[in-house]
Assembly symmetry: D4
Amino acid sequence: MKNELQVAVLMGSESDRETMDVCLQELEKLGVAAELEVHSAHRQPKRTVEYVEGALQRGAKVFIAGAGMAAALPGFVASLTTKPVIGVPLASGLPGGIDALYSIAQMPPGVPVAAVAVGKAGARNAAILAAEILALSDETIAKRLEEMRAEWRRK
Amino acid sequence: MKNELQVAVLMGSESDRETMDVCLQELEKLGVAAELEVHSAHRQPKRTVEYVEGALQRGAKVFIAGAGMAAALPGFVASLTTKPVIGVPLASGLPGGIDALYSIAQMPPGVPVAAVAVGKAGARNAAILAAEILALSDETIAKRLEEMRAEWRRK
Amino acid sequence: MKNELQVAVLMGSESDRETMDVCLQELEKLGVAAELEVHSAHRQPKRTVEYVEGALQRGAKVFIAGAGMAAALPGFVASLTTKPVIGVPLASGLPGGIDALYSIAQMPPGVPVAAVAVGKAGARNAAILAAEILALSDETIAKRLEEMRAEWRRK
Amino acid sequence: MKNELQVAVLMGSESDRETMDVCLQELEKLGVAAELEVHSAHRQPKRTVEYVEGALQRGAKVFIAGAGMAAALPGFVASLTTKPVIGVPLASGLPGGIDALYSIAQMPPGVPVAAVAVGKAGARNAAILAAEILALSDETIAKRLEEMRAEWRRK
Amino acid sequence: MKNELQVAVLMGSESDRETMDVCLQELEKLGVAAELEVHSAHRQPKRTVEYVEGALQRGAKVFIAGAGMAAALPGFVASLTTKPVIGVPLASGLPGGIDALYSIAQMPPGVPVAAVAVGKAGARNAAILAAEILALSDETIAKRLEEMRAEWRRK
Amino acid sequence: MKNELQVAVLMGSESDRETMDVCLQELEKLGVAAELEVHSAHRQPKRTVEYVEGALQRGAKVFIAGAGMAAALPGFVASLTTKPVIGVPLASGLPGGIDALYSIAQMPPGVPVAAVAVGKAGARNAAILAAEILALSDETIAKRLEEMRAEWRRK
Amino acid sequence: MKNELQVAVLMGSESDRETMDVCLQELEKLGVAAELEVHSAHRQPKRTVEYVEGALQRGAKVFIAGAGMAAALPGFVASLTTKPVIGVPLASGLPGGIDALYSIAQMPPGVPVAAVAVGKAGARNAAILAAEILALSDETIAKRLEEMRAEWRRK
Amino acid sequence: MKNELQVAVLMGSESDRETMDVCLQELEKLGVAAELEVHSAHRQPKRTVEYVEGALQRGAKVFIAGAGMAAALPGFVASLTTKPVIGVPLASGLPGGIDALYSIAQMPPGVPVAAVAVGKAGARNAAILAAEILALSDETIAKRLEEMRAEWRRK
């Protein structure tokens, strides 16, 4: 039965939606129960804390957070849970999102964030990575991932 | 009477002490009541929240936070208060502290952090900037700042 | 009564107006008495000196300077006053305004400039930071800042 | 019973051992069954393929690969399996390991790698991230992670 | 007789075709027998191995591989053959293709790749470099290269 | 007769002396009348203005200014005179002096500074460039420059 | 009488003309006798040598060379003469012309090039810098430069 | 018979010898007839032209040039011959040799240089790449390269 939340996807701003929708769509294609919400670590820290706690209660096993510029959101989520957190750097500040890439990849020792590529490529890979993590204990998702790879081989 | 805290200085790790002591010493030289503590936004977010709230109650008017790598600390403090927050990027990750500089300077619109230079130059300037802010309503500090400038001119 | 100048906003070139207007509008929204003028540290150093001196006489407590490329303007203003100076890096030279960001953030020890993010995000944050500084001794502005934060929380 | 391999840790060169030992030790501290081997994607691709296949048969659920310069190893492992792969950028080429960071983070869409920070901070975080992933279906590891966080809070 | 393949040109994605066509056209202008195919080191490693082996049997003496982002393709080809491999960095990730440039140029000792400029300039130069290599034992190509230089001198 | 000053060399800090002495020595070797002084654009703007005005009266035809970090000194001198100003970026802030290089090279249109390489290579080249400028109307220096080149050819 | 060439302006490619025309027009406005030609250090080294030698015979006192990417042209001209050479980095390769900026600014000790800003700002400043150099022994140009500055002050 | 020169290795400065000796030793290990000389494109362009012409007459089929900073040497050699030229970026200027890497990799269309990694890794790979090129028409070298790869596989 899959009516629980598996992956909670957050983004720092409404303007990140086009990119992070790529993530949500890929999760749906892989059969992962996911949702996407706007949350700001800096503007609404308490609301973000409450959302993360609620998502955990609803069953969230993996968090994905997309953010640009100082991109504190993934690390902020990681400070609130020991579930795996994946960070998607977005290019809303310095060119190419280099500021967000550094902010997300360069987490201090103790609180890891899994950084993926900047922008849509990363948004899609975040979804696949989350699916790979869930697939360790979910055979349906594991099968979907294998099918995706098999399809590439056929092309 | 100056038995209240004026500037609360935080740093992300014990290993930042040598650099951030430059900040504390400059504050003392300028006659500013300050203290320096280690706080991690990622490892101990609740303890940091409590410290900031306590510092505000004890009179803190300006916050200075030194941090390296993803350097979330200054922005985290800024999310908790509308007092001015100064961020000192420290070079504990990428060379020159470029990761911390981007993380601190590139704050998203709404929650400002005042970034200064990387390392000891920035630690010292953070202290002077805090004094300049306090000097707007504190004539003793204003006078000390003027004396410092006058001394430079004499040299 | 608020007929005195509180924040003097300078920009290095007429072409910076669109970005720096964001700063001026945010200041007005926060109830801060501000004005915006074009001044070039390199082309008209004396005129800039005179403007800064005049602004101080008219009550300016905080300076904001937006500049691109070598971006000397914020540091030049900081060399003329012990009032807090906020620098907004603008992207008119190297991509993303990385040249202006380094020029503004990397001030040598002794003469601080508070660097904010590149471009409009920084222009808006410079205004809020200036308001935070003024709010330490101005309850009206302090109240407006609290209202702004409260509004975010409601959203 | 824990006599199966849980995390296979690879590194591109014998000279990476000091850094990657930090990863292995953290895994051991967290009660994760792990091993560390030198494998070169470029010099010995077939031997690496065989190792990955063998590790999968011995139960490996997560792969960690540390590499410097072009840092192809994490992506190469990711091309061979749908298990989660974590990449640790190492600073053996350009200063700060920026070349390895880009090579590992900027994976093309379809084959994700979870990038962590450059060097020892990243090596340690890779171990914790792997433990977080395993903890989704392993209560002993989950408990250890919670204890680690609780210990931080006490400090 | 020139019905054998001389240069096999690979690219990581169909979206690289416009740039890599510049390479193919320059090879044809220089009288080099070449072909261009899409191959992904990460998605279809086995298919790429088979293509490289087939190309070698059909006479390929030089390989050119264009790739963006982590740009593993040129190094992957180089791990499969001792024929010269030329890598063309493409700008599909970070601005200017800086990620691909580092990934291709910073090959570890033992398995060289000849990096050229990012994008179309590099695509064209890869073709000329391949022709220069072939010209060492092919007088027709050597003559064409000399003619190209002579034509420049006349202009 | 050569008892007039030809080249005034400034540096931002006493700690720059070792590098800028390379410049002074090269100027002396080339027979150029030069002097080296510490001047801070930010700490002592008026003293710097007076020095530049005095140097002009004593005959200075070219200015060389070495500075690190925000490196405003060369541009500040250029704002005070229409004589050629050469800027030497020094590595006292970000690694390699990249901050100073950008600050010096990226002067806005209207007030040029001639940037040379970072550090001692640049300090030496600044001297030779100044000599090349003076040599346009000074045959003794022109001859020395030709001799230096002739000596290289003999080696 | 001013029928001699004073400043020879070279550019690496016909596609640089729009930017380098800014340089030529500024030189004309300042009353400097100048000309602009396309020359490639890499494609036509001998033709470039002949042009430089001819320009010297026709009276050229300063050279300006605009180039993108590896941007060898300014350094190549500097290797042929002891007259001052000004290099204008152009953005035809990496974003912002960072490749050209490094190639032009980072000349090895012994053969200086005066680097200015990337693109049109630099093209214009190269002209003013050349005029400043010529003005040391040309009162007409000196007067024009003073007038330009005076005009700025009036604005 | 192998008494002819096969690979001419140049370096821009005596201080590059320790790095470029790695290249020469690797060439010797692979049975390639090579020699290493100091040549400066900027200081001694004519002497460099004569050396390249002489090397071509003595049979040189491939050129390798190591250079730091503006690193014009590889491109200068490439402008003189249609033989393949390999460029080794050296870290004598900006950190990591990033200036030399850009100068060597970003050659304009028409005159290719094969860039390898910065420093000793690149020096060694330049030798192997040169051997791979020669091996296309030299079975002894081809065999040595195959043996080197076979040895890796055994390890």
